[in-house]
Amino acid sequence: MLRRRINRLLGGDEGRVHSRTIYVGQKSCPPNEAFIPLKFCDNRIVSSKYTVWNFLPKNLFEQFRRIANFYFLIIFLVQVIVDTPTSPVTSGLPLFFVITVTAIKQGYEDWLRHKADREVNEYPVSVLEDGRRIRKQSEKIRVGDIVEVEEDETFPCDLILLQSSREDGTCFVTTASLDGESNHKTHYTVPDIESDLQYLSATIECEQPQPDLYNEQQSVHVTFWPCSALTGPAANQYLKMFTDFLSFMVLFNFIIPVSMYVTVEMQKFLGSFFITWDKDFFDPEIKEGALVNTSDLNEELGQIEYIFTDKTGTLTQNNMEFIECCIDGFQYRHREDSSELDGVCVTDGPVNKVQQKAGTEREELFLRALCLCHTVQVKESTKNGQDQIDQVDGLGADEEVLHPTHKERGFIASSPDEIALVQGAMRYGFTFLGLESKNMKILNRNKDVETYELLHVLNFDPVRRRMSVMVRSKTGDILLFCKGADSSIFPRVRQEEVERIRMHVERNATDGYRTLCVAYKHLSAEEYANADAGLREAKLALQDREEKLMNVYNKVETDMTLIGATAVEDQLQDEAAQTMEALQVAGMKVWVLTGDKMETAKSTCYACGLFKKNTELLELTLRTLEDGGRRREEKLHDLLLEYHKKAVQDAPPVKLGITRSWSGASHGFGFIIDGASLSMVLSSSSESNSSLYKNLFLQICQNCTAVLCCRMAPLQKAQIVRLVKNSKGSPITLSIGDGANDVSMILEAHVGIGIKGKEGRQAVKNSDYAIPKLKHLKKLLLAHGHLYYVRIAHLVQYFFYKNLCFILPQFLYQFFCGFSQQPLYDAAYLTMYNICFTSMPILAYSLLEQHICIEVLLDNSTLYREIAKNAMLRWKLFLYWTALGLFHGLVFFFGVRFLFSNPALQDNGQVFGNWSYGTIVFTVLVFTVTLKLALVTRHWTWINHFVIWGSLAFYVFFSFFWGGIIWPFLNHQRLYFVFANMLSSVSAWLVIILLILLSLLPEILLVVLRKPRGPHARQMKRRLPSSGTSTIFMLSQTASTHSFSWSD
């Protein structure tokens, strides 16, 4: 049982003191010191926004800060104060409704936050107080408390490690909940702490808390508990532009009614539930489905043009497996059923069958190197060696990996690669037993325990890209084992060995494996003494410690002998290749942004099908830049121009539509750039060049089917996303990633998607949507995104349409009433039109419509292209809806106008007045817009039926009811029996039927004439790629090896 006693450190910020002093264990300070009682804030976590008391004022203030709400408030106030045709109720009621609905929604979300806060705050922790152990709630921890944290528990606050249950005073901490890194970091106890903490009396001095997580200048690590800061979602630009335009028309007050905002909000809010509910997104492994953090971006999912994906953990599983190794140029592959032929050597099966290939000596040296050169810890120190072996054997045989922690049970390491290597060595007979008081124990093939004294660990760092250990064997030999990236090892070994292994390494890299080279070196006593002294000196240095250490490292790690190389597979995610293929066919451009090295990333791209065999790769990396011996800047300039010529100028003009996929797939370009080159492109020395390079770079990238950016720092990822986001046409971007290093690009892109992977929750917290696996992206975009986009586009346009034909008769009536702003419709109708009579059908439609069913959408990725580039909110469609609204408005008004040229419409000679006029128009209006929606609806569930026919029935019922009673609280009884009288008139019936039919006639005609685009035709297309495109399809098949299936 690993147990750590850790002291709590700090709370919030107070005062501008440079450092703060904390008294450990709440013991009072020595009496001779002036005691300044510092006030620290408590340990409560508050991510909620409101309390019960401030909810109403604060929420109202927040809401009226929105320009739309404020506008409607002003309209309402104007109506209250000034004499206007409509009563304040007509705008006050919807506004009240909006405010209430939003308040309830926000209140509910805040209640959820409160609940989450409470869960964290009331989490029980053990605290040592006055020598006793007390269970406390997490929120009651005070600064200076001594907290006991057990294994696998989450820290309730920031802590300093005082004591550990491990003998060596260490503990392993993952910072997954802070920055998403699931690697174990070793922490040491504060030295010179007596074992009995009950009587510990100490103070801690540390700097004031800082908001910057990574600012580790001081000896004390200062961190905050993370408050998930959900930044506002990227503005939905298309919708915004559209509504901006429409806001000019707001002047005629009902064109954009308050209720449109409500309906859009409700549609988004409710619609997002379908993502969380989707069982296809449920992952049995982590027992979770998709998560929607913001519902404002549902329709953006249908507009994605660029996908930026992380590699590790997103495209790949981050599940390392030792695949093969190469010793002295001979390949060892651990696969029983492998029958792969290799160009270099044919070596299959377990290592002991192919001993003739490499000398046993070398083999064992290599395996020892694997066993020794790492920082892996064995998790449970077992006294009984035999137990350990059994356990290890069991693990090795157990191929079925159910859960990642299952596999890693025995080992803890800061990198999954290391575990894979140790396990790989274990497979070949060398087992690492653990580190006991500076002695590393290895169980070799003969089941003998070998002991090595660990002298120094030359830690891994990303600059050197290698790590080494120095050990002294039983015989007294001092050995240095080094492993690292090929590029960092090859220059440091004797050159004659390199060629044999380089081939393996490169082949492995193109197969998508992560490769490491292993080298060793015998150190003479003298050499060691020098190195030892250098290291000790460097370690004690107070200034430039890192630099000095590096120098020593570099000095020691020279003239080594290359033993071999390893290949570790980072397995692809389930259906990663299919998903990428589908997304590309859907017209999205996939960019891989990774921190990994180029070769590995490239191979992953090949494995995912992002690069194909015939893809021409354009490389812009340090390697290509340093070719030819010219200055990098010049070379960069030339390369950019050359690639631009190749990919942009000489490329056939890109056309929208299906043809693009064929031409693009048959002869595509792939672009590769690394971090260093990117920073050169983006921050060129001269200003003019900089923008030129940026443009060239963008144009090249936009003409490539896939782009790979490797060796990216997290901020560079965001930089690229921003570059594309702000490029011409401002395409909609999507970032997907799983780790903390992807957070920046997730936040930067329009749509950020987090994968609920192994690397913590940081990406998920910062994302707009979180899905368990990469493969779910396909359905999320192709099905959900497509449907949401079509739904919201229809919703917005329909709303505009129905209010246009609602308001137009009202407007026309002004010509007949002396421009006196006399309302045509009764106030109740004005108010209820958007709230009750016509809102539910469109809401149901916008939640349930599937103009193409989900299976078809998933099978035919090309359908996504049909809605690309905001195809449904373009001018053409907008004009269509406007024309329709105008036509309907004119028909309604003038139809009734001509009828009323003789207002004696009843068979007893009695006449109708202005309210009858309005009611007839309104009845026609309600029926027409509802039936128009019915005509558009392609997917009639019982809810649609219920809501559409229910709305109409409700209208009739309401009209009877409203006109059936003398309302005691109203001044006016305008509609008293108007509706009933209207229905008693045959002429009114006839005109209503005529006008509804006349209005819908063009619509029906259009639907019929548009027939070839209907689902019927699509079904035909599925069987054989329809007559129009089949020739292209065949041509492209003959022209290239690329094969594409319409449906799998």
Partner: protein
């Protein structure tokens, strides 16, 4: 050939039930329910409108609408209507003097008589309308200038009318509340029209004009009510109120002979209070009931319209008309509906034919396209 598919996905039915029952463990709240609704798999009817489905509809609509239209048109044409303008704008017009001299302030009524001839006899009930032109009864300020609770007999509103009635709320002289208040009531149409038939032998007989049944039944019996207090007469009930400025006589003297038609429930008043939709309108004035004998209600011949000219329209250059009309099941004479029905029916029929041709051509083309495949 209704090309629609009923797309029920039955696989969810039994599954969803069982999974929900079995999943009562810890995973229940995490695993999404496999219900048809949540998985967006609700059984759905997916109608597909094709030329084939719509074609018959077009023909049916055409075939129904055209006869209806013809029926309406014929009906409208059979309605007899006679209209005479008595504004008196022209010099020779009998009412010219009245129109010129008369204002709201005139105390003595001006009477004029117009002669006209009905070429054809009017059968059945004949309805007498008065028509006004250029009178914006639908002006916003005008429309709202009334107090429906006062008209409904609410005693409180009687004495203190709604603010909407301003400036016709209280009398400027006596400070008493006006009943009925408001601009609509104030501008009540108060011309008296009488109709005389000049028989071929020269004798003049008055045509009996019924003044009941011209207002909506619900208006007359529910919406408009005289204020009720015990059994006092109307004069007492309206005591303390002033008559509208433009009125000659108070509201309780609108029809002194018939208590059922006096006060707020006077039908002429009720008809006037139903504001017209358009600036040119007609309102029902009287009904000439058909005679029990076989003779026409209004036989053809010469008539005299005697107008007591009380209503000045000169100020807003309006015009006044008297209309005699018979009524059919569709109301008064209006050829619009008939023409519209015939037009729409024809368009549908025509579109049906066009679609048929297109459909036919399209079909053959797609058939021929199918052959090579």
């Amino acid at each position: 050939m209704m090309a629609s598919s009923y797309n029920a996905k039955e696989e969810d039915g039994p599954h969803s039930g069982s999974s929900r029952h079995s999943g009562t463990g810890a995973a229940k709240n995490k695993k999404p329910d496999n219900t048809a609704f949540k998985q967006q798999r609700l059984p759905a009817w997916q109608p597909i409108l094709t030329a084939g489905t719509v074609l018959p509809a077009f023909f049916v609509i055409g075939l129904i609408f055209i006869p209806i239209g013809i029926g309406l048109y014929v009906t409208s044409n059979n309605i007899k209507e006679f209209e005479i303008d008595y504004t008196g704008l022209e010099l020779g017009s009998p009412c010219h003097d009245c129109s010129k001299n008369f204002t709201w302030n005139s105390t003595t009524p001006c009477v004029c008589a117009l002669n006209f001839t009905l070429e054809q006899p009017f059968e059945s009930n004949v309805y007498m309308y008065y028509g006004l032109s250029n009178f914006y009864q639908n002006h916003r300020r005008y429309v709202k200038s009334r107090d429906d609770s006062q008209l409904n007999g609410d005693p409180r509103s009687l004495m203190s009318a709604s603010k909407e009635c301003e400036p016709y709320r209280t009398s400027t002289e006596t400070k008493e509340p006006i009943a009925p208040c408001g601009a609509i009531a104030n501008s009540l149409f108060n011309d008296t029209l009488e109709l005389f038939y000049i028989e071929p032998n020269g004798t003049t007989t008055a045509v009996p004009l019924a003044k009941k049944g011209i207002a909506w039944w619900t208006d007359k019996h529910v919406k408009f009510r005289n204020p009720v207090k015990d059994k006092e007469n109307l004069t007492e009930l309206f005591k303390g109120t002033a008559k509208p400025v433009n009125w000659r006589k108070p509201v309780y003297e609108l029809d002194p002979l018939d208590p059922e038609n006096n006060g707020f429930i006077n039908e002429d008043f009720i008809v006037w209070m139903r504001t017209a939709a358009l600036p040119t309108f007609r309102k029902l004035y009287r009904i000439i009931h058909k005679k029990p004998s076989t003779t026409s209600t209004l036989p053809s011949g010469r008539y005299t319209l005697k107008v007591t000219y009380n209503y000045p329209v000169h100020s807003f250059s309006g015009q006044k008309r008297m209309i005699l009309s018979t009524i059919s099941w569709m109301g008064g004479k209006n050829p619009f509906l008939g023409i519209a029905y015939i037009t729409v029916g024809s368009i549908c029929f025509f579109l049906g034919v066009v679609l048929l041709i297109i459909h036919h051509k399209y079909d053959t083309r797609s058939n021929s396209a199918d052959i090579p495949n």
